[in-house]
Amino acid sequence: MTRRSRRLVLISSALVVLAFAAGLVLFALRDTIVFFYTPSDIETKNVAPGTRLRLGGLVKEGSVVKAEGKAITFAVRDANGEIRVSYTGLLPDLFREGQGIVTEGVLESRGQFRADNVLAKHDETYMPRDLAESLKKHGLWQHGQPGAPGAQSGGK
């Protein structure tokens, strides 16, 4: 092979791999991304039932009901709305009434959400950033509340 054709092989194989990767990334970005909403977002933005999303808000006081088996229902609220959430499984350590959480799952109908994952990070002072901002926006943020910027201590 000549020098020129060798270089051509090198460059074209690089392009093939890059094009393949770019295709994968674009496909994945279209299909695997989950948007974050608060209960009032869902009402105002008319999110269609069946959509997969992340729902964030505060666990409404007095709303947690543990049924037989591992089924749990609770309400997630923010300033202007609330949504009933059903979930089957163990709740994370930091799940408490009044606590901010994020759940991932499918919107079944307006006001009803089926979660397959309840997320709470490994630090009581941590609040999911989406939630902290939304709470601030709606005036529910109490100063000195867990999640204030910089409250997270490092290590990992």
Binding site: V9, S13, L24, A132, G154
Partner: protein
Amino acid sequence: MIVETGHFALILALALAIVQAVIPLWGSLARDATLMRAAPSIALAQFVMVAIAYGALTWAYVSSDFSLVNVFENSHSLKPLIYKISGVWGNHEGSMLLWVLILVLFGALVALSARNMPDDLSASVLSVQAWISGAFLLFILLTSNPFARVGMPPIEGRDLNPILQDPGLAIHPPMLYLGYVGYSMTFSFAAAALINGRIDAVWARYVRPWALLAWLFLTLGIAMGSYWAYYTLGWGGFWFWDPVENASLMPWLAGTALLHCTAVMEKRDALKVWTIFLAILAFSLSLLGTFLVRSGVLTSVHAFATDPQRGVVILGILTFFIGGSLTLFALRAPMLKQGGLFAPVSREGALVLNNLLLTTACATVFVGTLYPLALEALTGAKISVGPPFFNYTFVPLFIPIFFAMPIGQLLAWKRGDLLGAAQRLTLVALAGFVAALIFYAMQGGPALSAAMGGLAIYVILGSFFDIVTRVASGSSAGAMMSRAIGLPSSAWGTTLAHAGVGVTLLGLAATGWGVEKIASMRAGDSVDLGQWQVTLDKVAPRPGPNYRETVAHMTIRSGGAIVAQIEPSRRFFNSRRMTTSQAGLLNVSLGQIYVVISDQETEGPLDTRLYWKPFVSLIWLGPLIMAIGGALSLTDRRMRLGIAQRAKRRRGPEPKTVAAE
């Protein structure tokens, strides 16, 4: 007094770094040997100063000196000694100091071996190192001083975040930092090559040990972090594609590419410019990781703006080093003497393919990690890029790597025989295929797991194929033995490192065969978990040094016979009013039984999550084998700098390779 000494030593270290950043570089540009030779002693002095500072901070932790803000916020007098020591790096200020300590330690090591290097190379390398250490020392002193005092010293500290009080996390950050910072060495060598305008196979020999060392520690550090997350977070997961994890994976991918690329450069004097680029890339990604973790940008793009000082300074350092080195690269790289091209089907060609796939995979992780941040900063839309994204992008790029690994090892340098290599591997490929069928027959479960398991067997056997055929060609057992010993240790190193990849893959494949149960248990209840039965005997409190613990005593049986007892527990740390979960773990051959409990409501049942994870240990055993392979390669005699130097002397005066200036 000791604390003030530490603070003062840190300031002296900064002064030394500034001198070291300027004088030797000046010397190397002006060809002044006296100035160049000043570098090693300054580097050693700088190391001593930072070590004194670090020692002083450690002393403050061990003696619980709560007049220091840093100690007050992160320590507690009742904390066990090991966590007082590891607590030094369990917070922002201390971990940055550890970062710099490792940086200057590596600088000191270069200084000690400087006799074996050309003066201008060691001078430029140490000078670039000092630019980096100077920048970070300035950062520590200006924005994150660990030696700041409190006006009214409190009696007791706030304690280290309980989740960090764990042996795994005591070792994980130093390992990871040894890796991250190790890439500063390859970076300095690359920058020195660009400054001096000279790069050759001898340069590759100096760089290779550092590339190996950094890679080895980063591999161990990532594995350790993953195991820590696995057993402390109580979700039974070991990798979450979390931005913090991705931040360590990206330099690893670039570093792995660099490691393979230096091999080509050393053997064939080719791919020079690409090697330099990868060295810059690996360190840039390490810096990016430091920035992502340390600036608060991950918690919120806006948190970054509310506490701008630290984030902006790190961003400034990041921009300076990445931008500066890329500018230098753009200016000087075209002047470097180009190496030769080679046939696409050859060992070099295979290594280029490896580099191509690894860097592309690295790019997908980069996109997945930074896209949400960029999108939020630009449009305000909040999205989460989770595991599915990486499963669609990263995994398909890695599958060809697994297939190509054993083939690449069999190709000869210069001109390889692809068909021949494939033919020689027929048996190995067949073994992998049969293994996949056996896995499927025995475990059932997802076909993907069986296929991945087969691929893993192919990779493991394929790694050993070359070495086994070389040894087996001996006529007698004795001859085989002497052949095996006579092989260069780097050959064994490659084999083990590649086999380690296969071992990890097997562990990953086995995740599909696990069993997961969630149960509400009362004393006396039993749960079937695959082939095991887990019984809750009783729940009882147990005192700890700085926490209260509720322990569930459980017995594991197999067909009626008692196998072991496990004690998953919950620990309540009063100083931070925080609870952590301690998983109950039992190693059974290579698998693990993993049990976590929730808080018990008074007299209510105990919510329990139980997993049986066959072969799960392989996931972390693999990186350990990879690291052992790396360590073996390091002992190879070709790695010793003296030998490189002698080889260079034999080859006569070097200036022929100097670029046209």
